[in-house]
Amino acid sequence: MRSFANTVATLGILALLVPAVIGAANQEQEALPCADCHDTVAADFQSNPHALALGRDAAAGAVCASCHAGGKEHVDAGGDAALIRIPKGAGGATACLSCHGGKSHNDIEPKGVHATAGVTCDTCHSIHGAKRPGPALLKAPDSELCVSCHPDVRNAFRKPNTHRMHQSVGGTSKAGMQCYSCHNPHGRGDGNLKQTAAGEPVCLSCHTEKRGPFVFTHGALVAGTCQSCHDTHGSANPMMLTRAAVSQVCLECHSNITGTTLGSQPPSLHDLRSPRYQNCTTCHTAIHGSNVSPRLFR
């Protein structure tokens, strides 16, 4: 009931804020007769999210001019294609980023990994869009675009133990996870992984119960990452673990032979030949952390 009240209150605040800013002024733009010649593009463009990007009172052709500099000269010269700027490639990204760049941690990085490798805005996005533009004006729906260049990732999802993925990435449902659920294709850094609003690893945005903090934290969460024990794209092993046997996952760290690394030797009596002990998490169930059990039993 309290959650419902919170939701209603939040929606109420949102509803109050919207009218408060209605009436904002739109800047004046120079009128250009682009549609006179480019009638097909102009017709399809009406359903494009960019069509009203400059506001409802923007002059005809103003949206075109906002990306295509040199429109007046192009018109005056009777349509000389050399005089109109067509944003493409790395240079074209500058035009896109003047509106789309740097709004949040999960937003567009102009020097991101894709950009450095020559993958620019128009590689994936159809800026003018078609008559039926897809989400984000992508050239191919859903994650098809991603795996069309990353076949290794597509095939990682052919393994039996994966996140429940979208059909385009080998899942069985159109409601499954997409590549962008975890990755920011416009980002930079290792794997272009997203963060939560609190700056945490993206895994915790769904796996909230693993967030902690815990009084007794599994050292792997501190010294490593989720990927220390889990293959997140797809795994041959249950629970998407990096090893087929759970004891192997654990003992590869918890074997203090040299005395210099973190993770001590479990005691004897854990006879790995007995099925009771082959799965360490049979007893250490709270393997990610616990507030009440020093040995992660509960």
Binding site: N6, K159, S173, F216, S264
Partner: protein, 646 residues
């Protein structure tokens, strides 16, 4: 349940179409129908892998409404999928009006089901499946975000998220020299409020976000009926350990205020500065747990038998995490750029717990000295982890078709752990200060020669120490990619990745290799026909020395994975008739050998330009070489009506 799913799908459809009444233009796609399953073999395993069910299914819904110049909005987009007989349900609404607002709502529900036959299963040899660790839960996620765009320098942002994770499961609890199977019920709710603003000053942009998160989680557990004997069939010191009753309840309340700041802008024409800072300050999680047990138990710690226990435990953890980054992106010339930055991350935690366990009706191992014993355990823990990363990257594009880059990163990690005495199993390696520095050098090149693109990059990490045994001292990674694209007729793509991780230190001897290469071929001989073929090979071999706990001897822990995927598919569209079909075969010959074969087909017949029907079929066969109890063969059929606007 099926009726409910169908009703939800209809309501969502109606809600999505309601704004269309006054809209200027509407585009929609709807796929609604019924799905059947026919699974032989291990049905739990199939559900673990796919989550599919029988029933009505809103396969997909997409509605885009252009509001027109007189509408309340410029564009409204509603998307829904998987409502009904799918493990994942998604619903999303996006409404925006240029220079006024941008609103997004997304809701998802995911079934979280796991029931492996061999995982956590000490009775597998007796044919008892599934294992003792199973879950059958659901996860709801609701996210609302609104950004107001009044123009000028200030754009307010508000957001709200709610996550709910709940449902039954099964686990085990080690107690009194045995492990007992428990039924569990988890109910966790997390709420998050966000308020902030986008700011603009000339070429500078900033986003400041303040959030408040709260969580409330309860966990109940009780002995599985009939599981009184536990997992240990052998008597302990002549006593058959058994539980007559074992049940408990745990509740954890958490809170986490957080701050998130991002600033970017141009210092000069050629220099872009980016700074970010994220902090969760004083994240707290407080747990109270009680459990009671009756039966026959043994405690080596007490040196006594006992017939029951009453336990009260509380724990409180407080953490502060922050991450700050600053970098400069400098366009030195029109073809040369430098990116240099520094990132500092710190995580600090202090925790304390108080555990009070009363052991009832205890006797010593001679059966004498009967009494109740109360054991108190007070524990305090602390850890502090810091990481500083300095990095620089030089990118050159001397000609339009060539990009070259070289980068370096210098990473310093430090970790201090102060464990509680109760955590220490064998002294050594559970606390102290650990430091590790990594020098990273990488370089790459990308060539874009029209129809041919080539790319390669190499990375080397050189570390001075290992914090955990699977940390490498030396890592090499080479990646390459090649694409040949001839118009829309042909695309050939190949990628390869080779990774080697090493720590040759005596007593660790860690050595891991991954070789992964994939190739894809797409041919479109005519516009109506596309053909796809793909091949993938994934080979992983690793070994590291481990100590066996039963006799303290050492041996290498060897893991191997040798996976191969072959796939092919075709799509043909003739007028209002569309057929797609494909198959793939994944074979693993590593430590867990299995075959996973999948065949699918989809036929779509347009009755009119807007209305059509389509059928879907998928066959999925999974076989494990070592555990036939995991095998299944599943046929999934679906029949749907499609309605698409012109």
């Amino acid at each position: 349940m099926k009726k409910r799913a169908f009703s939800v799908a209809l309501v969502l459809t109606a809600v999505a179409f309601a704004p269309c009444l006054q809209a200027q233009s509407v585009q929609f796609d709807l796929g609604l129908g019924y799905q059947w399953l026919d699974v032989s073999g291990n049905q739990d395993m199939y559900r673990t892998h796919t989550g599919d069910k029988d029933g009505f299914l809103l396969d997909s819904l997409s509605v885009t409404v252009a509001g027109g110049k007189d509408g309340m909005f410029d564009r409204l987009r509603v998307e829904a999928a998987g409502i009904g007989a799918s493990s994942d349900n998604r619903f999303r609404v996006q409404i925006d009006r240029s220079r006024l607002f941008n609103f997004q709502l997304s809701y998802s529900r995911a079934d979280v089901f796991t029931a492996f036959p061999g995982y956590a299963n000490p009775f597998l040899a007796s044919g008892l499946i599934p294992g003792q660790h199973t879950i059958d839960r659901r996860r709801d996620a609701l996210d609302l975000d609104l950004q107001l765009l009044p123009g000028g320098m200030f754009s307010p942002i508000v957001g709200y998220s709610r996550y709910h994770y709940w449902g039954p499961g099964r686990t085990t609890f080690p107690f009194g020299q045995d492990e007992f199977a428990l039924n569990t019920e988890l109910d966790e709710t997390v709420s998050e409020y966000r308020v902030g603003a986008g700011l603009a000053f000339g070429t500078w942009r900033a986003t400041v976000l303040q959030g408040w998160r709260s969580s409330d989680s309860s966990f109940d557990y009780a002995l599985v009926p009939g599981a009184t004997g536990g997992n240990n069939a052998q008597p302990v010191l002549g006593t058959n350990v058994a539980a007559g009753q074992l049940a408990g309840h745990s509740r954890t309340i958490g809170s986490a205020p957080f701050t998130n700041v991002l600033v970017n802008g141009r210092l000069f024409d050629r220099v872009r500065i980016v700074g970010s800072y994220a902090r969760t300050n004083g994240t707290e999680a407080d747990t109270d747990e009680t459990f009671t047990a009756t039966g026959q138990f043994v405690s080596f710690a007490l040196g006594r038998f006992f017939q029951g226990a009453s336990d009260v435990a509380s724990g409180s953890a407080k953490a502060t995490n922050w991450r700050g980054n600053a970098r400069a992106e400098v366009d030195i010339t029109s073809w040369l750029e430098l990116i240099a930055g520094f990132t500092s991350t710190r995580r600090e935690l202090d925790g304390d717990a108080l555990l009070r366990t009363t052991y009832l009706s205890t006797t010593n191992f001679s059966g004498l000295d009967p009494k109740n014993i109360t054991a108190l355990l007070s524990a305090a823990t602390a850890w502090d982890r810091g990481e500083d990363v300095s990095e620089a990257k030089l990118v050159a594009r001397p000609v339009a078709w060539l990009s070259l880059w070289v980068a370096g990163a210098w990473i310093d990690q430090d970790l201090t752990i102060v464990p509680a005495a109760a955590e220490i199993v064998v002294p050594g390696g559970q606390g102290g200060t650990f430091k590790r520095s990594i020098d990273r050098l990488s370089a790459g090149a990308d060539l874009n020669l029209g129809p041919v693109t080539l790319g390669a990059d190499y990375l080397n990490d050189d570390a001075d120490a290992a914090v955990v045994r699977t940390d490498y001292l030396d890592r090499d990674r080479l990646r390459a990619r090649a694409t040949v694209k001839i118009g829309s007729f042909l695309k050939v793509l190949g990628t390869g990745e080779w990774v080697n991780l090493k720590n040759p230190t005596a007593g660790i001897q860690y050595d891991a290799d991954v070789t992964h290469w994939a190739a894809g071929l797409d041919v479109t001989p005519i516009q109506a026909l596309t053909i796809h073929g793909g091949y993938d090979s994934y080979e992983s071999n690793s070994q590291v020395l481990i100590r066996l706990p039963q006799d303290f001897s050492t041996e290498p822990s060897i893991y191997a994975e040798d996976g191969e995927n072959v796939e092919g598919s075709a799509s043909l569209k003739l007028g209002r008739f569309l057929v797609e079909a494909g198959a793939n075969q994944y074979t693993n010959r590593g430590d867990l050998p299995f075959d996973l074969n999948r065949t699918y087909a989809r036929i779509d017949i347009g009755i009119t330009a807007e209305l059509g029907v389509y059928g879907q079929y998928e066959k999925r066969e999974y076989t494990e070489k070592a555990l036939s109890a995991a095998d299944y063969s599943a046929d999934r059929y679906g029949l749907f009506v499609r309605w698409t606007s012109k």
